[in-house]
Symmetry: C2
Subunit: 380 residues, 2 copies
Amino acid sequence: MTLPFDIETQAGAARVGQMRTAHGPVETPVFMPVGTVASVKGVPQDTLEELGAQILLGNTYHLYLRPGHELVRKMGGLHRFMSWERALLTDSGGFQVFSLTSLRKITEEGVTFRSHLDGSSHLFTPERSIDIQIALGADIIMSFDECTEHPAGERRTRESMEMTLRWARRCKSHFDAHLQSRKSCDLRERGGAPSRQALFGIVQGGMYAHLRRESAERTMELDFPGYAIGGLSVGESREKTREMIAATLEVLPKDKPRYVMGVGYPDEIVQYACMGVDMMDCVLPTRAARHGLLFTSEGRLNIKNSRFAEDHGPADPKCGCKVCSRYSRAYLRHLFVAGEPLAGVLNTIHNLSYYLDTIRAVRHAIRLGNLSGIFQVAYP
Amino acid sequence: MTLPFDIETQAGAARVGQMRTAHGPVETPVFMPVGTVASVKGVPQDTLEELGAQILLGNTYHLYLRPGHELVRKMGGLHRFMSWERALLTDSGGFQVFSLTSLRKITEEGVTFRSHLDGSSHLFTPERSIDIQIALGADIIMSFDECTEHPAGERRTRESMEMTLRWARRCKSHFDAHLQSRKSCDLRERGGAPSRQALFGIVQGGMYAHLRRESAERTMELDFPGYAIGGLSVGESREKTREMIAATLEVLPKDKPRYVMGVGYPDEIVQYACMGVDMMDCVLPTRAARHGLLFTSEGRLNIKNSRFAEDHGPADPKCGCKVCSRYSRAYLRHLFVAGEPLAGVLNTIHNLSYYLDTIRAVRHAIRLGNLSGIFQVAYP
């Protein structure tokens, strides 16, 4: 299984490329909006298309619990179920079960955890995660890894990294062995097109550059069509995040997509793309929107602030999105303060627009060979 | 102040007409979606335009409390504040303060009530309601009335009706006396176009046909450009509602718009339009949507029902709305069960589409001169 990936142009370490998935092309560097349970909260799919989203991320842990991967499989896979014919990526569930600190137990076999919905007990193994992701049918699926807690000493981090490597091997073997079932699932969904689900490996190694490098090298021995850098943005400084990404990128192959999971602020997106990262995802634009926080060319804006009560201007005067071209800050503030559901809808549309515009601007700058001055505002 | 209203064609008592407001034409019979606090819950304004909504209803009581009519006036009026350039109607607040049973006190002067938001005390008089509605700047505004409780004896109903008549006179006088301030408000909003806010009268009279007729006759003496029938759908039988509407319509002038407030189910909308009602509004399609109840050509559908879990079909196989043409019942059920905000958004879009399609079909049938068979499904 491979994922066609062509690099169109480079500027320093940064590059513009294209992944060709069975559900259309994805230009990189790309920011992937998060649609946890088969929906980007509050935003209809046609609006996501208008915003130019080329790929969405679904969460395996959540989809497994509700509506259940078998139901999604029966409905023709996640694309058809949620009526999203562009590309999809699912995470492995590893990060989510890791986050259930008091509700999970990790062994060599996998992770036993309790559902946050009803307390029921479940076991995710590397094989199980792959089976679930095959059933969901996303174009890109992820190895089941252990996200090392932060802080963690070197010995503990190495043990965790070794476990992730053993699990990666099990994921790869299981995935390769299930080519046939994958094909049959995909045939139902795609009306006969060949299966092209691609399994990515995940680099761990905590906050130790040499472990990151070792993890990358040994993950690459398994020969994945793309590599993610996991276990970052877990409480470390932004400088440390950057350092770990840099150490890993030195090792990762340049001809494969490189994905930093779970980042970040708009300026981080820009920074990492400039370092040569091809893919990123984050709940920040969507979650912040629901809390009334808007990302703009003038910095972060807390829309509930009373100084916006009579502000005729758009959320971001430099933004051309459908929210900024129609509604005032005063109206957006009113909606938020009044608890109107439209607040979350419009704020999310703006924030996603801002993130997708930002990454588009990065691609443009790379094509022009000029990365200077593409981003001015520092967050948070 | 007058509201141009032309009747294009008639079929029996039913008629197709057009009201020409300063914010564009409104074809009648019309169903007005409710946008209580300057938003139809969860639905962006461009979607309402796509659905063909020609006029929305705003609630004076809610807008007065939040964001406040003075703020809305400063922002250029409700149209500009919510970025809705089509027609708007505001109710008088009478029904809402009537609904605050334990929190209000009615006297000749007006109604003292406590805010449902913070318990603060407020007084609405007929003059105050008109002032607020002038500040909001809707194209059609309503007299402040007393919605008689149900059940109520004849003496009590007459007393209440007499109060509504005295209040109607005060509303009319105050409205006429404030032409100048209305003009200046409107000039700000419309860039110089002449003010054309129209004040409608409201017929009360409880469940007594002779009082309804008397209320209509005496309200007409005040010469409003349109008349509403209020105080219905307050717990009486559907047959009683119909009877009260019929009694009132006999008396009301045929050349002015006739508006039944706060109704109803889709089949009621059709029935009343066929009787010659020109305008209706109701929270039912929007509120029911948020509870997962969908109106369809096959009847009402509770989308959370487990029988829809694997249903590939659209909510309504005969509906061409953007929800039915894209999403399955299985997906809509999943969104609702998972508590996803997109559930309310999509369900509301479908229900509004269904109501607006229904009233469009009624207009079409009237134009064809054939009212038979335009509606089959009985609700609830």
